[in-house]
Point group: C2
Chain length 85, copies 2
């Protein structure tokens, strides 16, 4: 899977990062029919709720990026977790 | 965001794909402490349940890939939706 390489290469190579646990979630939604609803904002909140079931995470530990073009929307959630949780 | 380019380039360039709506979800979990629990399998099911809230999706429309190395696990869900739903 080429994606494994993608995430490997994007991994910050700092000493600090060695002590961290990271969770990265990416949602790409491709709509050719522009009339179809865009549910990514709601989906984002639902996914955050789901993550909270497994790990204790506060809002400042989550960074959210959202990028949209004509027919493609990409949502990226980055969660950095403390050593012990 | 470089990821937008990644998804753009990985988009199948076929006539059939023009009529489809696609949803791709990637979860990357980096654990430096191997003792920490791996909740990706449960997370996968939860995310599928969340998606089902927004789109009607049957199991055969979802392809799942899972790749794991020492400290990195990557889960990839690909959902291809029919034109009308």
């Amino acid at each position: 899977m080429a994606l494994l390489d993608y995430f490997r290469s994007s991994k910050p190579n700092t000493t600090a990062s060695l002590a961290k646990e990271r969770l990265q979630i990416i949602v790409a939604h491709e709509r050719n029919d522009r009339k179809s609803p865009d549910y990514l904002p709601q989906l984002k909140q639902d996914i955050l709720n789901v993550i909270a079931k497994y790990v204790k995470v506060s809002e400042e530990q989550v960074s959210v990026e959202f990028d949209q073009s004509d027919d493609l929307a990409v949502l990226e959630l980055n969660v950095t977790l403390p050593d012990q949780h």
